[in-house]
Amino acid sequence: MRLPGLLPVLAALALALRCAAHKTPLRGLDPALAHHYTGRNDSFTCIDGAPTIPFVRVNDDYCDCPDGSDEPGTSACPVGRFHCRNRGHVAATIPAAFVDDGICDCCDGSDEIRGCPNKCIEHGKRVLAELRGRLKAYEVGLKLRGDHIGANQGRRGEWEREAADLEAKFVGQEKAVEAAKAKKAELEMLEHERREAEKAAADGPPGSGGEGELGESVVVEGGGKGAGGPGAGQGQGEGESGDGGSGEGGDAEDGAEEFVVGKEGDGGAEAGVEGEGDGKAGGLEGEIEEEEEDDDEEGEEDDGGDDGSGSGDESKGRNKPKKEKTEVQKAQEEVRKEEREMDRLSRELDEVKTKLDRDYGPENEFLYLAGNCYDAVENQYTYSICPFDKATQKEGSHSTNLGRHRGFEDDYRKLVFDKGQKCWQGPDRKMVLSLECGAEEKLVDVQEPSRCEYSARLQTSAACSNVELAAIKQQVAELEAQLEGHDPTEL
């Protein structure tokens, strides 16, 4: 034994007695609580109210108070707290567990009766320098934030105008659709009447209605391919949407290849599931589904489905001897054209509305991050985060989706992207972005603490707050006072 265990006990006891007698602070006592420790009537009542003990039992290295208040300066109480004054730095309170355990926790070393070097001035200076740096960043950041909020208003205004404009167009388009439909109905009525008349002329009896239907269907097949066409075309269209994507460069090559895998796999996976009759295949299915989703997205972006149905029509048309389109057919095409336009407007409107409805923070302060992307390089990977859109990991020409915009968490201190590409054997990828005040936007510290769950910090002026600024200012003032006012002999 280097140091007998009794030493701290005796020292604490001596200190307690001395303190009581000389009214100097008790070891480990938070000055804010000093009024509980007057020693009046030579007794002490635990801060929570009971029990009352002789004052000599304060800091006597035995726990009498369930709230730990009789032992501010020893490790005796499980819930005790020890106050370090830390002159030259900021005061701190540590768990009683850390008192006299051989490890220096307070910068002034007061938690270890056997002694620790006082490092508070050193620490204080370092922390002060850091705080001043942060203060500067906050000041710049807050100014920028104000500017951005103004600009954000303008941007919202644009979106609002865009939305109004689209809305108006949409209403107009609704009318155009109505008109086209009306025209089509009228033509169909005429056609119907014309054929009724023809039928009546050929043979009147109602018993031959069946034959008439047959005849009609022949006509419809020729003229109304629209009924069957779009369906067939759509199937094929899905098949081609990937190809459409592949022409667009970027990760198109990958898209194409995966698309093919995905499609083939899709059928296969179903077979697999049936064959196995076992949930284990779920993972596999999931993976393929995920690829399918990606393809769907691509499909939506380039309107592959619609184009596909169009091309389906055309290709079918090409296989048959060309016929003159009837008036009814032309009217039907017109209806479809106008409806497509209406759908397009509706989607655009939805997009703008989504943008408008989205939460950009209490003051829309994060809005200006929308549309921007921030990159950070870590080993062979480049991480790119586009707030309110997506997070990606790029390696060479390949890119992995780490998640789509999900929303804020933790009182606007975190921005979450989820449902990224599924991890082999793991969860969907997810990125949690911590938002920190900074003078300029900077993505730092990208990590993967858990498999396929990523974290990073984005320094942005949008995250600067006046409240925090005030807190930092206060900290700086306190530290400055501590450092200037300290008397080295006191420490």
């Binding site: 265990g5 490890i103 596999l284 054997q425």
Partner: protein, 980 residues
Amino acid sequence: MKMASSAPLLPSSPPSSPRRPWARRRTRPARSYPGDRATRRSGAQPRATDLGPPQPSAPPARQPRGRRAGRGPSTVMARSGPLIALSIVLLLAPPGVPGFKDHEFKKCRDAAFCKRNRGPQDGRDYTVLADSVVAGKRAVTALIRNKADGATFKLELSRLEGGLRVQVTEPDSPVDRFRVPDVLVADPPAWGRAWEPRLTATELSLAFEGTEIRLSFSPFRLIVEIGGAPAMRLNGRGLFHVERHRTRQDGDPEGWWEEKFKTHADSKPRGPQAISLDLEFSGFGHVYGIPEHATGLSLQPTVEGNETKEPYRLYNLDVFEYVHESPFGLYGSIPLMLAHRAGLTVGAFWMDASEMFVDVERVDGGTGTQWIAESGVLDLFLLLGPGPAQVVGQYAGLTGTTAMPQLFALGYHQCRWNYNDQADVAQVDAQFDVHGIPYDVLWLDIEHTDGKKYLTWDAKKFPDSVKMQENVASRGRRMVTIVDPHMKRDSGYSVHKEAERLGHYVKNKDGNDYDGWCWPGSSSYLDVLSPVVRDWWSTQFLVENYVGSTEHLYIWNDMNEPSVFNGPEITMHKDCLHHGNVEHRDVHNMYGYLYHMATTNGLIARGYKTKGRQGDRPFVLSRAFFAGTQRLGPVWTGDNTANWEQLRVSVPMLLSLGLTGLPYSGADVGGFFGNPDEELLTRWTQLGAFYPFFRQHAHIDTKRREIWLFGPEAVDRMRRAIQQRYSLMPYLYTLFRAANASGAPVMLPMWYEFPNDPNTFDLQEQFLFGPAVLVRPVMEPGVQSVAVYLPPGSVWYDPESGNKLQAPEGGGSIQLPVTMESIPYFYRGGYIVPKRERHRRSTMAMKNDPFTLLVALDGDVSAMGDLYLDDGSSFNFRDGAYLHKVYRFRGLELTSTDWEEGVASKYDTAVTIERIVVLGLPGDPASWRVTDSGSGAELAVNGGPVRLGGGLGGSAVVIRKPDLGVAKDWKLTFSQSPPV
């Protein structure tokens, strides 16, 4: 830690050999994973899903192999042929693949030696040649002959302290059969007092100390009678057999000279050499032991009438996602079985390191067992008890006792595959203090190395490993790195180059260095059967040799069965050759033990070199084990899974290890594979706080599970469980001292302490943590109560309220209501438990803390306990530098005296006892007065809580701050005013 198989990617350079490795390793880019697009693009390596055995001729890119954790097939393929690869996966994937690949492991019917020896067979007709019997005072020799084929063997019986050794060898064989070295602590020629031999024409009788051994000549039988009744019978059912040495003949039966399993051939140049042991435990309805199996404590029959199930298998294997309630062999083997009935416990230890199958069958009036080993000799130790502690002690007398661990090693260990880098280590370390959770050791799994070259560091992630270790050590904590026996065959790896140059590797059947596949890819395996190789390996751990290590770093040996991803049953080929031309077949089950031994010796040497006499005790965790492993360090139950079944099965698994001499053991808290939810992790931590070895660990594919990630409520619960373990640390350390001295288990089955209560013989839902603490962990989700069985006459106390639990008349169960906070455990009346109740962040931080004595009185108002204390780290305790006090409460006096009278302690300390808590005194606690008989001073007494900080008042009699020196002898006298 882990098993290979979920790993899809091949190491970066695939071998050119046509024997394609199991693609089970996950060398992956830092932030992308197998199966990811990223991996598919950049890796362009095959891997795949498990389709059974490797197909040597299949083109690698199309060859789906390897496995993924528990999810069945997955889809990763080389870029060159995604469609084809995918369709192969889909077409070939076996139906309903669980994580555990049953078909990858042999059954008895797949192992020729088991198949031809299991149950009654022709050709077994053994007699003792009466005129060959030579009966000495402590040893007997005789010849036994198999009349069926004329083969003659030598039988030797020798007297042991508390036991009998039975050896059968083949004297005429030109080839020496392998005899297990390095397991017995000393070769015991003959111990104990002599016996009285009585020889007749038909039998030899040997009597000693209430035991009679009768050797019947025709047929050959050996019967052990204890107290006048038969206890053990060898060859009672005529299943005994030794396959004699022979030379190859045309027309020899299949399986004698070659056998195949899956695609692996075993050349078997030495032919059949199996041994079948027929051992009946007469009058015993319960047998235990022969770990390691994920089964119940009491071994269930494998043969019932005409119905046969798989026998228990002892063959050290790296089993991926093992399942509970299965007799297949796991990572370690201890061929020791205990049999118990009210009034008598006996044991049988067959020292053989080859593959073994054991059948258990209920027979008339007892339990019949058949043990079939593939090779070696019959070297059987019958342990005669008569109680469980004696059997365990007799076994420890043969194979050694538990190594005394350092104090820190009994703390909480935090592990994960993997803590990513130095910043991650610093962060995890700091969070423990932020949340006030005590812990002692932080672990690094395989990803810390440079390309799975053990004893190296990944310089990018761990640029300054020394500083990292020193930082962790600055708060009294330690670190552990993993070091596995497979050595990367990489010309840039100096340790490998030297091992290769020195010829230190196991050879294949053709005499070349064996080349297997493991984490680093192509690997060779140290031939640790050779003492020279072991010594060489030990030197690698000196701080100057293990670059980037410090004296605060300890070691973890994983994969030492050994695991060989492309070997038969994921292990080494049996026809590989070791030092002295020994086949791997002969030594398989002790390979991991010998490797563990070499590593452990390395750490001892390191400590001695840096600190001389103050050098510290080693700490090396091993996954594989054998008889004798207890002398080295702890083991754990390998790669378990995060589910309730595996939580439950951990209890009988650890109890079995304790009974077979290896008490320092634990299971991965939380379950290695899969993600435990908050409830499961909380319950597992509450249970793990009573494991002898307490470590949380997780697979790389799982979510982070450090305690603070589960929210404040869960943190409070798990912190409390861990703090409670730390508060019991003086008691636990004392239990380990008992294990070190006598081989006693730390975690005890109920029957060990209540051997006459048949209700306890099957109990595995509750256990004892040392003799003084009963634990009934909550092991089911969502329960409101649990049942705990209390044996007749026993008294227990609630550790929070101090309330007494009295066993129902004749013993019985009581229902305990539980909440998520509950950790149902009880102090046993009659015991004194030393504690340290101050909350600290590590064991080191507790070193100068005062003690609390918890006195739990029995019905006779008496109790007893002890406290062992030393420097917690060095070997000086072997020279007497320890304190061992015994506390007795009897006749209203509590005394502290030396455990061994007249042995002056060479360890002194000024640490005091700050509280004495007495449970079970009648009347109002405040009515008790206590006087220190030495000084005559009256001590402060009040009614208080059982636990420090347990609130105001309470039913316990608490002596406040007696400030009695823990090193001192003292006596306190209790009286009551007014007297009752």
